[in-house]
């Protein structure tokens, strides 16, 4: 688990570089709240606290959730989300290894459904907005909801690339015009494309360490890219390229860190492939045709439900049970 956390560090560093110290504040708040909730729940349930608090699972949950939050979200939101994810999604289901849903995604989903406005308040990447907030101003905003005199949040705010594409398309703007906005870089959004690349790097480390099965990220990205590719080839005016989808939003984070959560995904090789593929499909559908800018969280939660069912029907054959029928016919 700690290796998973370590694999997130390049992503966190890049994120902080582009969006400021707010990212670290979110991560810090989430970690403290998650660990405190974990310890509290373990105590309530009469479990030994030390081995479970130090296993790193709560930290990974907290980090993944913080990374999907807007960096300038108010402090109580991330804290509440962390408490929810650990207490509600994890311990109420029986603790480590027993939860049906990915705790980080549950925390995120509750917040985006309950506070859609706050959850879409993203600041522009550093240097893009007419004005930008320094570290002190970011902290002040997160903890008090006030900005230093003379600053207006709208002046620093900006929609995310996925969000921009979606809203602009609804206003019948041409895709080429949209992508020419200065928010967009070579592939995805400025900053975003680098952050997702950093997640990819961390993901490759996890693959190299054999901590995640390669089939999951590969299938997820292939289906997401495949869907995007088909629509893009048919109508590039209205659909973005596979590369844009890969390097925007939570695609890379999801592919390597969220869809790969073993507890909430199937265990059979074929089952994992189906699971990851369907998440890729749903993610694309929600992103392009759904009401939310990104779809990873909801796609993951929906497929979490289906994991035991997928497992049931994808049992691999056991040594000595292959060609059972053939052997039976012979005998």
């Amino acid at each position: 688990m700690l290796k998973v956390a370590a694999a997130l560090i390049p992503g966190i560093a890049t994120y902080t570089y582009f969006f400021g110290v707010g990212v670290l504040v979110q991560i810090g708040l989430a970690t403290v709240a998650a660990l405190a909730t974990e310890a509290f729940c373990l105590r309530l349930r009469n479990y030994p606290i030390k081995p479970f608090v130090t296993d790193g699972s709560a930290i990974v949950t907290a980090w993944l959730m913080a990374l999907s939050f807007p960096p300038l979200a108010p402090w109580w939101m991330i804290t509440l989300a962390a408490i929810m994810s650990i207490a509600l999604a994890k311990h109420m289901y029986g603790g480590l290894g027993q939860n049906t849903f990915n705790p980080a995604m549950v925390g995120f989903a509750i917040m985006i459904v309950s506070f859609p406005a706050q959850m879409s308040h993203w600041a522009a990447p550093l240097g893009l907005a007419p004005q930008s907030l320094d570290a002190a101003a970011q902290l002040q905003w997160i903890f008090t909801g006030h900005l230093p005199a003379g600053l207006n949040f709208d002046a620093v705010a900006s929609a995310t690339p996925l969000d921009t594409v979606k809203t602009q398309l609804m206003q019948h703007t041409n895709m080429l015009t949209i992508l020419h906005e200065k928010l967009f870089g070579g592939i995805g959004g400025i900053g975003t494309e680098w952050i997702t690349a950093a997640y990819l790097l961390g993901g490759l480390y996890l693959l190299q360490q054999k901590l995640i099965p390669w089939i999951v990220p590969v299938t997820f990205l292939a289906v997401l890219g495949g869907m995007a590719g088909i629509f893009w080839l048919v109508d590039p005016q209205h659909y973005t390229s596979p590369l844009f989808h890969w390097f925007s939003g939570a695609a890379m984070l999801g592919a390597f860190f969220i869809v790969t959560d073993p507890v909430t995904s199937p265990t059979t090789p074929l089952g994992r492939m189906i699971f990851a593929g369907l998440i890729g499909l749903l993610t694309y559908l929600i992103r392009v045709f759904g009401g939310y800018p990104d779809g990873v969280a909801f796609a993951v939660l929906i497929l979490n439900l289906a994991a035991p069912f997928i497992d049931q029907y994808t049992q691999p054959s056991v040594f000595g049970h292959k060609n059972r029928k053939k052997a039976g016919a012979k005998a």
Binding site: P51, G97, T267, T268
Partner: protein
């Protein structure tokens, strides 16, 4: 030290497997040492799978080296012999090296120090029948020395038209153990002689010796021995990669022949048979030197001063073996077998068994305390490692929630308990323990079910018997009553008898007349179509025979449990009844006869239906138990 033999080109990897630290160099550097005869030997009698051998000696008996002290009990069993000469000082339950930790029957022999052999005659196995050879091996106590101690005689002679491949299991995949390695290095020629014998007995078309690549010297020795031996069949040493559990019979067969032995099928049926290399050696010693299995090479390693291999007598107390290797302080426990599948010995006073390939003195440095067991996070590492291609995490869930049926459905019984899953588990879950628990629970449930079925069957039979006896009693009473009325109303009966006799006489006369007529007709004229005399006698015969065959079962059934005078009476009654019926049948008109016949048939049909229903009921009861 860490030299590797080159892996053979044609191998067929099995799924999964793990590669724990080998720890083989500690014990493989010195030659096999001969262990002096210990003062006392504790020889376990349960030395094979199946029945415990039956003791042939009593306390106070003197025995000679190689003398049979316990004989095989049934087919799945093997004899046990005195490992040295001396006096029997105890016969009875003693602690044995078995995972249960329960005491079992042992023969304790006090050595007289002379180590005197019993008279031995070389067995002329080349001119002996297969059955005789098998009995001989059983009486020589030859069992699989790889750990499973399956009686070897059961594996010889199964193939009717020869075997495709004889696999010699010399993989020795468990860490720490080097006894087979050293045996092959030092006694390769004798092992090859054993291979020749078994190849001959099984009529195997080829022999493959599977050795892991961490035993280059053994592989080399075996190759040379095969080359030097005059063999007339293809034989090869196949070096397989070091990957636990390549020494599992099914895994090795897959590695060497690409045959995946199906669940519940014997490899012999697929033309493959697998023998451990040490077993092959003992077969050679038994058949060529008339030496029963009274010793084996055992690895003593771990926390000892002189780790190595010892040629020790069966029954040598573990404490003596440890003392021989120089027991060091700080050992927390002693493992019998390898670290993956072995178990902790309940003590060191117990005697070495034929299964004992290794003793590891365990200390904290070699075997650090396992961290706390954490919850399963379904990471699937166990499924990746499982050589049986099971989903251990699911079996663990099922076992933990006592959902044994589901575990069985997911092929729990294909688990070979190799421990690869527990070895890779990041949550330190002792998976094999859960699987053993599930298996034993299922076995216990099946046993209980069988017992319940038996009890129910007994109860039902008792009810049936009681009912039958009641019915028979009533019948007897009725018969008695009938006899009484017959005696009192003698005149009526007599009159009836006279009438009946007259009728019979008349019928017989009619028949005789007909016969005479027929004969007359036949002799009178040849042109007249001859009348088949049988055609005439058939109705009579039918009438005479049918009632007998109908009554017989009833008579027998009712006669069986009855007492003698009653029986006689009833038989008499039955005979009378039959005679009366016979007479009546003869007197009957054809229509009446037909009616009677139909009634009989209906009765028979009803009885048959009853029997069928009963049978079906029994079958239905038996089925779930199977």
């Amino acid at each position: 030290m860490n030299a590797r033999a080159e892996v053979s080109k044609v191998i067929f990897p099995f799924h999964g497997g793990v590669h724990p630290p080998e720890h083989k160099d500690e014990s493989s550097q010195t030659p096999i040492a001969a262990m002096p005869v210990p003062r006392q030997l504790v020889v376990p009698l349960h030395q094979s799978i199946g029945n415990i051998a039956k003791a042939l000696v009593a306390v106070g008996d003197t025995v000679l080296k190689g003398q049979m002290i316990a004989e095989a009990d049934g087919t799945v069993s093997a004899a046990v012999h005195a490992p040295t000469s001396g006096r029997v000082v105890a016969v009875g339950p003693t602690l044995v090296p078995h995972p249960s930790g329960l005491p079992e029957h042992c023969v304790t022999i006090e050595s007289d120090g002379e180590d005197r052999w019993i008279e031995r005659n070389r067995f002329d196995w080349r001119n002996a029948e297969g059955r005789i050879i098998r009995d001989y091996l059983r009486d020589m106590g030859v069992v699989g020395l790889g750990g499973a101690v399956f009686p070897s005689h059961l594996k010889i002679g199964g193939a009717r038209d020869g075997l495709d491949t004889l696999v010699i299991n010399a993989a020795e995949c468990e860490p720490y153990i080097t006894c087979d390695d050293l045996l092959m290095r030092e006694r390769a020629a004798q092992v090859v002689e054993g291979i020749k014998i078994v190849q001959h007995l099984l009529q195997a078309r080829q022999v493959l010796v599977g050795i892991e690549d961490n035993k280059p010297q053994a592989a080399q020795a075996m190759r040379e021995a095969l080359k030097n031996a005059a063999i007339n069949f293809p034989a090869d040493v196949v070096v397989v990669p070091t990957l636990y559990p390549s020494g599992g019979a099914k895994q090795l067969i897959k590695l060497l022949t690409n045959i995946e032995v199906p669940s519940g099928v014997r490899s012999t049926d697929l033309g493959v048979q697998c023998f451990n290399v040490a077993t092959i050696y003992t077969i050679y010693r038994a058949l060529e030197h008339a030496e029963p299995v009274i010793s084996r090479v055992v690895t003593i390693t771990g926390n000892v001063q002189r780790p190595g291999n010892v040629d020790a007598l069966i029954g040598t107390p573990i404490a003596d073996l440890l003392a021989f290797a120089g027991d060091k302080p700080g050992s927390q426990a002693y493992i019998y077998g390898g670290p993956m599948m072995g178990f902790e010995l309940p003590g060191t006073s117990l005697g070495l068994s034929k299964a004992g390939n290794c003793i590891i003195a365990k200390n904290g440095a070699l075997f650090p305390e396992k961290p706390v067991e954490m919850p399963c996070i379904r990471c699937g590492k166990c499924a990746d490692a499982c050589p049986a291609e099971l989903q251990p995490m699911d079996l663990y869930w099922f076992g933990k929630s006592k959902n044994f049926g589901k575990a069985q459905e997911r092929n729990l019984f294909d688990c070979i308990e190799c421990g690869a899953c527990a070895y890779v588990c990041p949550s330190n879950i002792q998976l094999v323990d859960y699987f053993r628990f599930s298996k034993s629970e299922i076995w216990a449930a099946e046993k209980a079910k069988k017992a319940a079925d038996q009890a129910r069957e007994r109860h039902e039979f008792r009810q049936f018997r009681e009912e039958r006896e009641k019915r028979e009693k009533a019948e007897r009473a009725a018969a008695k009553a009938a006899a009484r009325t017959e005696a009192s109303g003698g005149n009526v009966a007599e009159a009836a008898d006279a009438e009946r006799a007259a009728k019979i006489k008349a019928a017989m006369e009619r028949a005789a007349a007909k016969k005479v007529e027929a004969a007359a007709a036949q002799t009178a004229s040849d042109s007249v179509t001859p009348i088949d005399p049988d055609a005439v006698s058939v109705p009579m015969g039918q009438a005479a025979i049918a009632p007998t065959s109908n009554e017989a079962p009833q008579a027998v059934e009712s006669a069986a449990p009855a007492l003698d005078p009653e029986k006689a009476e009833r038989i008499r009654a039955a005979m009378e009844k039959r005679a009366a019926e016979k007479a009546a049948a003869e007197a009957m008109s054809p229509e009446e006869k037909a009616a009677k016949e139909a009634e009989k048939k209906a009765k028979i049909a009803a009885a048959m239906e009853r029997a069928a229903a009963k049978k079906a009921g029994q079958a239905a009861q038996q089925q779930p138990g199977e």
